[in-house]
């Protein structure tokens, strides 16, 4: 897979020797470096996020497993340009520990590290236990723009942390993704059942209920997100409806329609909207909704041009 990536990027990235990591070939000296990473199986992340005004490097773990400290350490070293490295990844026990171990190793070597863990999933109550799901795309977009302009690691960290605190998401599935090593689904739903709040690795969700109409499900999820984010009339927001693996664009548009209508009813101004495969779980049949509350500073970074394997983003509102 990594070889395919290197060839697809046409010289823009290279592999870090001896480990499963990739790094951009054009990081300028004196730049605050941005490292993302996590387990594979979530195409197109995280490796697909390396590029211009996006991540400088990605540490690649095996399917659904966090990368080990050596991968993170070597990849971060390859990206460092003397201004330290910002780690941005999803809030999962494995990632937290492995990235922390690597951060300690790097700090011992004199390389400054700051860490922002993405925890946008509202399906869990306590913020420190919330998982990172599709909202990570917004977070990395902001981190990438901030790191390209930041005058310090601390500055890039501040902006990225603020972004993460203003992103909330929730997922729903009618069919689990397949575990590659067993060929089995990660959980089994009855014909008439849906799973709400399931994890990105196919972990069973927090609630299993019977199938309802898309509008009913979307309304329920959107209300929870809006409430948790304290989004209110006059606020500006970006919306992402993310395909978790094998949903059609038609279905995503149906979901997007309902969210757009709810936002409109509440006087919340939607200034960006997108659908597509941004953070999948193999072939899971489900989608997630992400809302990002924007202030003037976050808007500036949000609309900065960005280019990576996963997408091209043109500048401007």
């Amino acid at each position: 897979m990594i070889e395919g990536l290197i060839l697809s990027y046409d010289g823009r990235i290279r592999k870090v020797p001896d480990v499963n990591g990739i790094v951009s070939t054009s990081i300028r000296d004196g730049k605050v470096a941005l490292l993302v990473g996590g387990g594979s199986g979530h195409e197109p992340i995280y490796h697909g996020l390396v590029g211009e005004n996006m991540a400088d490097a990605a540490a690649i773990g095996n399917i659904f497993a966090s990368p080990n400290p050596e991968i993170v350490y070597e990849t971060a070293k390859a990206a460092d340009r003397g201004m330290g490295v910002l780690f941005v990844y999803g809030n999962y026990a494995g990632d937290n520990m492995n990235f922390d171990i690597a951060a300690e190793m790097l700090e011992d070597d004199g390389i400054s590290i700051k860490t922002v863990r993405i925890n946008d999933d509202v399906a869990t109550d306590e913020p420190e236990h919330r998982r990172g799901i599709a909202g990570l795309i917004f977070a990395v977009k902001i981190a990438g723009a901030a790191c390209s302009e930041a005058f310090s690691l601390e500055d890039a960290f501040r902006v990225t942390k603020k972004a993460v605190e203003n992103i909330r998401s929730m997922g729903v599935a009618v069919q689990a993704g397949t575990m590659l090593n067993t060929g089995e689904p990660t959980f089994v739903l009855g014909d008439n059942e849906i799973e709400i709040g399931m994890g990105l690795h196919g972990e069973p969700g927090v609630d299993r209920t019977e199938l309802k109409s898309s509008d009913e499900i979307v309304t329920d999820m959107t209300e929870r997100i809006i409430s948790d984010l304290s989004l209110s009339s006059g606020d500006e927001t970006a919306l992402l409806i993310n395909d978790l693996g094998s949903v059609t664009n038609m279905e995503l548009l149906i979901a997007s329609r309902k969210v757009s209508m709810i936002l409109q009813e509440k006087g919340i101004k939607k200034i960006y909207s997108n659908i597509g495969k941004y953070s999948t779980t193999m072939d899971m049949k489900g989608f997630s909704i992400s809302l990002f509350k924007l202030d003037p500073e976050l808007k500036k970074y949000f609309f900065k041009m960005a280019r990576c394997l996963a997408f091209d983003f043109c500048a401007g509102e």
């Binding site: 095996n62 050596e70 494995g94 171990i101 990660t186 690795h201 972990e203 069973p204």
Partner: protein, 205 residues
């Protein structure tokens, strides 16, 4: 009774073979999480074997540090970090020691537990491998006067009991923590690996 460095190395190679042979069982046990525990441990312990097979070690600390590194740098995931930390922290109390006896083994378990609790932030009752390791530490301390082979067996049985008890706990760490009540009825996979490690250590003799 004491084990020398070479005996400890042979013991760890047997532990590794035992864990590797249980990979499918551990995968199945992790089906409420993301089913990567078996593969992770298989990778980790295979790498452990590579790291210690054809090497000489000056003391027990360096043997166990390499065991920890082997797991940590290959297993990935939370388990890689935790079990890697267990061996590295535990091994740190055996610096300059060339013989393992009951006191040393007990200290190894105790420091391993401390390291794991610091790294992962979990505590007894959270439904993790700690719920196998903590009872093992307590049992070892209570039986520290027993000869080493017997002591390891006692520690294993305490760990086994602790792991079985995790079945009725609600997960508060790792992949299963968001399941709440739905995590009941399934023992924690990490706790299974923990007692298996002690089981294969006790089968050394």
């Amino acid at each position: 009774m004491e084990f020398g460095i070479d005996e400890c190395r042979e013991m760890m190679l047997r532990v590794a073979d035992g864990i590797i042979a249980n990979a499918d069982f551990l995968t199945e046990a992790d089906k409420m999480g993301d089913a990567d525990h078996g593969t992770g441990m298989q990778n980790g312990f295979t790498n452990l074997k590579k790291k210690i097979s054809d090497r000489e070690f000056d003391d027990l600390a360096s043997l166990f540090t390499q065991c920890g590194n082997g797991i940590m740098m290959s297993a990935g995931g939370a388990s890689g970090a935790i079990f890697g930390t267990f061996f590295k922290s535990g091994g740190s109390v055996l610096k300059d020691k060339k013989l393992l006896e009951s006191e040393g083994f007990t200290a190894f378990l105790e420091e391993g537990l401390a390291g794991v609790m610091k790294r992962g932030g979990a505590k007894p009752g959270d439904k993790t491998m700690i719920d196998a390791l903590h009872p093992a530490v307590l049992a070892a301390k209570e039986n520290i006067d027993k000869p080493l082979p017997e002591l390891i067996g006692i520690a294993y049985r305490a760990a086994r009991k602790g792991s079985d008890a995790t079945k009725d706990m609600v997960a508060s760490s790792g992949r299963m923590k968001t399941l709440g009540e739905r995590s009941k009825g399934h023992p924690d996979p990490g706790s299974i690996t923990m007692y298996l490690i002690l089981k294969y250590m006790s089968e050394n003799n």
